[in-house]
Amino acid sequence: MTAVPHAEAHLTTDSPVPLLTIDDLHVAYRLEGKLGQPAVRGVSVQVRPGELVAVVGESGSGKTTVVRASLGVLAQNAEVLQGRISYGETDVTKWGDRQFAKVRGPFVGFVPQDPGNSLNPVKRVGRQLVEAILLHDRKLGGPVSRQLALEKLRTAGLTDVGRIFDQFPHELSGGMKQRALIAIALASNPELLIADEPTSSLDVTVQKTILDHLDRLRAELSLGVLLVTHDLGVATERADRLVVMQAGRVVERGPTALVASKPREPYTRRLLAAAPASHNSRLEATRPAAAVGDEPAASPILVTDGLVKHFKLRHHRGNSRLTAVDDVSFSIARGTTHAIVGESGAGKSTVARIVFGFTKPDAGTVTVDGADLGTLDRAARRRSRRQVQFVYQNPFSSLDPRFTVHRLIAEPLQIHRAVAGRPVLDQRVSELIDAVALGPRLLRRRPRELSGGQAQRVAIARALALNPKLVVLDEAVSALDVSVQAQVLQLLVDLQASLGLTYLFITHDLGVVRLIAHTVSVMRRGRIVEDGPVGEIFADPREKYTRELIAAIPGRDVSPGQDVANAGVPA
C-alpha cells in the first residue's frame, strides 16, 4: 500500500490492496487535430477484491471513457492528460498495447454493454471463447481448450453448452449472448471484472437473472467488480459503494446505503428522486385541472375488442404464422392513462399501431369515441386522425431532420387547414411550444440541435396541435436519461390535467407505469395476462408473470430518505 489515493483513504486503511485504482484521471479527445474539452476530469475510483463498485451517470457523464481507460482500450484520438491507473500496485498508465494485452484476460475481464454487437458476427461462439483462452495459454490443446470453454459457458449460467459452442451469435438470444460474453470475460480467470451497462439492452427479467449471476460469481470467485450504469436502481441494489458522475466529474461517492439514504449533492438527490422505483404512487399534476367537459367521464374514449394480428414467418421448414396480438381487449376511460406493459416480443407496439391505424388487425374492432375505425371510409378516417395522435420512442427518427421546430409543430395544422392565416398559425405554434415548457428561442432550430428531452417535447407539442382526445405514446420516454424522463413524465401528467387528455402508454418499464398510469394491462406473447387498476396490480398481482416482472424492477428495496422525496422533480 504505497500510495493510497486521497478521497477514500480514511475508509480503507484495513482493506487489502485494491485491484484497480484510478487516481485523478483526466481524458480528452482530439477532434480534427484539436484537443477538445476533457470528457473526464479528475475521476478517482478504487475496486478491491470481492467488492462491487458502481459508477452511476447519465449520458455524457464520461463513464464509458473511464471504462475504456481502465482497460487500456481508449480510442486512438483520446489522450490521458493527467492522472494514474494502477492494477494492484503496478502503474499501468503508460503501458503500451502489448503489455496491456497480456493482462486483459488473466487479470481484468470485460462485460460490454451491447451484447447484440459485441460478438464477432461471422465466428462461432465457441471459437471466440477458445481464442480468449488460447491467447493466454498457448500450450492448451484443442480438446482441452474446448472442455475448458464448455465449463466457462456453464459457469456463465448457460445450459446446453455443447450446442451453443457451435452456434453463431445471431442464433442466440440477447441474454444468451450476454452470458457468452461473461464466459469470455471469465476465460482466463480474472480477478477484476469491468461491466459497462451489462444489462441495459435486455428485458427486465433477463436483467435480473444476469445481475444475480454476476453477484454469485463475485462471491464465489471473490471477484472485484466495477459496474458502470445509468440506472440508479440497479446500482443501489447491487453495489457496495457508489460513485456518481456528472459531466466528467465525480460529484458524490460513498457506501451505497449512505449515498442512497443521505445524499449530499443536489444532483444525486435529483437522480434518486427521478428514479421510477423511488415513487410508489402516481405523479401529482402541477397545473390546474381542466373544467370537466359536458361528456360523461364514464364513457370510455377507446374500446378495443378481440384484436388479433398475425405475421407470416418463413423458416427453412416451410412457413408459419406468428401471432403477434391474440384476442386483446381493453378500454380507456376519458381523461385517464392506460398502460400496456410487457417485455420485447409481447406485441404491445403492434397494439399501439393498430389503435392508431398504422396496422390493420386481422380480427377485432377499435372504437374511438363511439366510432368503429374499421367501418369508416378514407375521408372519415383522415378526419378521425385528428382525434388520435402518436408519439414515437425516438424523437430524432420521428421528426424530419430538415424541418425547423416551427415547421414541425405547424405541419399538422397545415395538413388539416386547421388555422386560417400565418399570424394565427404562429400564435398557435407558440402556444404549443409554451405548453410543453420550451422557449420560443428553439423554434428556429432543427432536431439535431436539440437535446433528447427537448426533441421529445417537440414531438409531444406536434401531437397536441390538433387538440386530439387520445395520444398513443409508444415507449415515449424509454430512450431518455432518467432525470429527463422524470421531467417528460411530469409534463405528460400536467398536460393531461390541463387539457383533459387520454393516454395509451406503451412501455417495457413497470416502474414508469406506476408514475403515470391509472390502469394497466400486462402483455406476454401477444396476450393480456392480467389487467386492472395500477394500485391493485402492484399490491396484489394474481399472475406469476406479473409477480416476476414486479420483482425484477431494480432498486425496489431502496427507500429514499425523507429529504429525497421532498426534493421533487423540476418540471
Binding site: A101, G105, F110, N120, P121, L135, L313, H316
Partner: protein
Amino acid sequence: MAWIRYAAAKVGRALFVIWAAYTLSFVLLFMLPVKAVDLLFDPQELMTISNATKQKVAAEYGFNKPAFVQYGDRLWAALHGNFGTSVQSGAPVWKAIGDVFPPTLVLAAAALALALAISFGIAFFAANSHHAWLVNFVEALPSATVSVPVFLIGLIAIQVFSFDLHWFPPLGDQGFGSLVLPMFTLAIPVAGPISQLLVNSFQRELAAPYVTTSLAKGGTRSWVISREVFRNASLPALTIAGITFGNILAGAVITETIFSRTGLGRLTQTAVGTKDIPVIQGIVVLTAGLYAITNLVVDFIYPILDPRLKARIAAT
C-alpha cells in the same frame, strides 16, 4: 427449399442480364447510320457493285427481313452458339474473340492481383499506423488514383521505364517483360475504388463493439486487425467484384491501345472502328456474361462467408 428459390432467382437474374445485353446491343447497332449490307463489301469496290447483287447478298444474310424477324433469327442462332461471322475477317465471331482473349485474361489477372495487393496494403497501413498525417496521406491515395487518366499513367510509365531507364519494352506483347508496364498501368485505376472501399470498411469494423471485446480478451491491436477485422472488412469488397471486372475490361481497351498489345480491348477498338457488328455484339454479350457470372459466384460465396446472410436466406 429456400436455397433452391435463392439459387433459381440468382441464376434467372444472370440469364436475364445476358439476354438484355444481347437485345440492347442489337437495338443500338440496328440504329447504325450505315446499311448493314454495305459493310460486307470492300469499300473500294462498293461503288461498282450493282444494286441487284446487293439485294441478293442482303437476302442471303436476311437483311431484308423486318427488324424483329432478324432479331428472332439471330437470337435463335446465338442460343445455338452461333454469333455469325466477322465482317472484317470472315472468321466466326467466337474464333475472333477466342484468339485474342487469352492475352487479355493474363493481363487482367495480373493487374487484378496487383490491384488487390495495393488495396489491402493501403487498408492495412491505414488501420495500423499511429501517425495521423501518414494515415491521412495514405487515405488520400485511392481518390488520387481514380483521378489520373489511365492513358497518362501508361504514357508516363513508357517515358520513364522504357525510354529513360530501358527496363521494359515500350510496346508489344512478347514475354514477361512486356507485361509489367501494362499490368501496373491497369492495376492503379482498378485499385482506386477497391482501396477506397476497404479503407472505409476497415474503419467501420474497427469501431464495432466486438473489437472492444476482442481487445478486452487479450488481443493486441494487430491480432484483432488480422484475426477479427480483416475478414469482416474484406467481405464488402466482393460486392463490387462485378464492377471491378468491368473496370478492368474497360481499362484493357486503353492499355492495349497504348502498348499496342493484342487482346480483347484492341479487338473492341477495331470492331467499333470498322462497324463489325457481329463481333461487337459478341464482345458485349461476353462481357455481360462474365459480369453476370462473377456476380453469380459472389452470390453463392457470400452466404458461406457470412453466416448472417445464410440465416436470412433460409428465412425467406
